[in-house]
């Protein structure tokens, strides 16, 4: 290893053969987890938003049970603040798999008064109630999520099988030690287990696997021209959630999304990465670039920041 700088291109291309072995191991582990859940739980469900991590989950589930169909339904907690491309992608994939999709619309909860719209219009925090209601209603006892332990420090000690009480809460005192690959999914009535088959994947692993397996993603993950405006340091776009305020000028830029969530608070990043290969190079660079005081206006650091603003169900 050289000191200081690492040549990004070389480190990516030079490690492709090795990386395949890492991906093999991560894939085998995820498939093992899916099958354990299928074997031990009555009613599992996969949280599926059409985003890249949940698309990866569905791909792995498909491989785990092939040639049989995936033995569980998909659940989408829909904020209503969607990107059209993502919903279209979601529906196509569901059709192709012949899967069953359950959609819990946050709007329904708002309409009947179980939830109240927030003053800032953001609906990400509103997803929790529809999710828990859907889990209770569907009697789901295992809920697959795409969470990864490398996402942030706080997640670093999350279990692969994470026990939740009837309120969906996580009780640290009842966290179970996870030994060998023996997962303990026992739970009492009303409790459920959140399962994270991608726990040991990094963002780079996810992209490399998407590349290797030719997994299709919604087009907004790749560079495209889009009208955006800036708010709280994020590049937002107009949609059903509203648009720019008076003092927020609109500009057209080449951007892509690193995550897909509630459109009102999911920022685009400036990027020219229009293929999976280019995204891998970008993701690698955003982790490896040495940053000092000039970092604040570095677009790659902005991308990294966005990574942590990931919004999801968990």
């Amino acid at each position: 290893m050289g000191k200081g700088t690492i040549d990004v291109t070389d480190s990516v291309s030079g490690s492709i053969l090795q990386a395949d072995l890492t991906l093999d191991a991560l894939e085998a582990e995820a498939i093992h987890i899916f099958r354990e859940v299928a074997g031990e739980f009555d009613k599992p469900v996969i949280l599926f938003s059409g985003g890249k991590d949940s698309t990866l989950l569905v791909h792995l589930a498909y491989k785990a049970f092939w040639p049989a169909p995936i033995p569980f339904p998909l659940l989408h907690v829909d904020t209503g603040h969607n990107f059209d491309e993502v919903i279209e992608f979601r529906d196509n994939l569901v059709d192709k798999l012949g899967a069953r999709l359950v959609v819990a619309k946050v709007q329904d909860w708002i309409d009947d008064g179980r939830l109240t719209e927030r003053p800032d219009g953001t609906r990400n925090p509103l997803q929790t109630v529809p999710l828990l209601d859907s889990i209770t209603e569907g009697k789901f006892d295992a809920v697959f999520g795409g969470g990864r332990r490398d996402e942030e420090r706080a997640r670093a000690k999350e279990r692969i099988f994470s026990l939740r009480n009837a309120f969906g809460q996580w009780d640290p005192r009842r966290q179970r030690p996870e030994l060998w690959s023996l997962y303990n999914g026992r739970h009492r009535p009303g409790e459920h287990v959140r399962v994270f088959p991608l726990s040991n994947w990094t963002e780079l692993d996810v992209w490399r696997y998407i590349d290797r397996e030719n997994i299709e993603l919604p087009s907004i993950y790749f560079a495209h021209r889009r009208e955006v405006y800036q708010r709280d340091g994020m590049w937002l776009t107009s949609g059903p959630w509203g648009g720019p305020r008076e003092n927020e000028p609109v500009t057209e830029m080449t951007v892509r999304y690193r995550t897909v969530g509630d459109g009102s608070c999911t920022g685009a990043v400036q990027s020219e990465a229009s293929t999976v290969d280019e995204v891998i190079t970008e993701v690698t660079a955003s982790r490896l670039t040495e940053r000092g005081a000039t970092r604040a206006d570095d677009r790659l650091s902005e991308a990294a920041m966005e990574d942590r603003k990931r919004e999801g169900y968990f």
Binding site: L21, E27, H32, A64, A156, H187, R308
Partner: protein
Amino acid sequence: MSDLLRLATAGSVDDGKSTLVGRLLYDTKSVLADTLEAVHRASADRGLSTPDLSLLVDGLRAEREQGITIDVAYRYFATPNRSYVLADTPGHVQYTRNTVTGASTAQLAILLVDARKGVLEQTRRHAAVLALLGVPRLVLAVNKIDLVGFDKAVFDTISREFTEYVTGLGYTADALVIVPVSALHGDNVVERSEQTPWYTGPTLLEHLETVPVAPDPRDVPLRFPVQYVIRPRTPEHPDYRGYAGQVAAGVATPGDEVVVLPSGRRSRIERVDTADGPLGEATAGQSVTVLLADDIDISRGDVIAAADDQPKLVDELDATICWLAEKPLRAGARVLVKHGTRTVQAIVTELSGRFDEQNLSLVDGPEALSLNEIGRVVIRTSEQLPVDDYVASRRTGSFLVIDPADGGTLAAGLVGAPLPLRGGVPVQLSPGP
């Protein structure tokens, strides 16, 4: 051969473990830019001139303040050659529980000592637990070598003492590497130190980069616990019946004569299938679907094994357990045992010994086993289990002890007597002063 290396760390409080792990993440450029900025800022706020790398991994601080369980945290870093999954185990509270968890999947463990303090009682305990759990390789990082003036004599003394100790635990010379490091300044972690010209071995990362990841042995008999039966019953696959699982040991090859346990029925592997197409063989760790030549009744919990070298079918487990629950274990306890893909009812009929960590010996007939204690037990199971000795196979020689009331995990179980406890009672693990 895999390039994914699973690591565990262990060390006492204040050995600088957080700083070492932070240093590994930092020097391998595995830290997200914004995280790094936060650390720089926080360090500057504290009046430090260099970033405090321990802040990269101390996400658990708030947790500690709230007085809740401090847990194993997983870290990820990668170099162009290898990806690493690091189980970072806190050193103080519940050290056995955490070390056991981290060690259960580790291919290599990094143990830290403070060069000023040398090998402590806790260092020995950690090493003993790592040996019990069968972690194949050890690295001793002699940290804070700068604080003893990069003194070779100090390093040599610690090396000698530690080598002697772990040799007694069963580690051979080629399974152990000892590195003088300063996690704070980065000496010999990633970059070679100019302060230790007397040290000719690899830096910590150089060792991690080049240490052979022991491939799962091929010359051991096949063990394939069935997780799930795949029966599509679709127009394209009306009669498909495959047994899904992860190869636990050995190699599954079409044509192999196999036995299904516990039923004892025999058949032959017809095909090893995956969604990407059939395979010529599947080795340990691969998730596949096995199809047999004969139509026999197989369900989750069964084990498909090599016909000519079968696991023992037992309803009485002679085992070693690490007790991980608050309430102590007493003889007569009713529990569940999860072995492979089978969970059965069981009774702990006998507590035959407790591993005394003070004297590193085995004490006969203890009254009970408390949290974090390791003991020898006899467990009677309601159904027969096909088991191997843990020493022969980590995957098929391990089990969980589960509380039937609330489903909690009570203990980590190892079939038979692991290496440090071999040779009868009492076992003197320490070579003595």
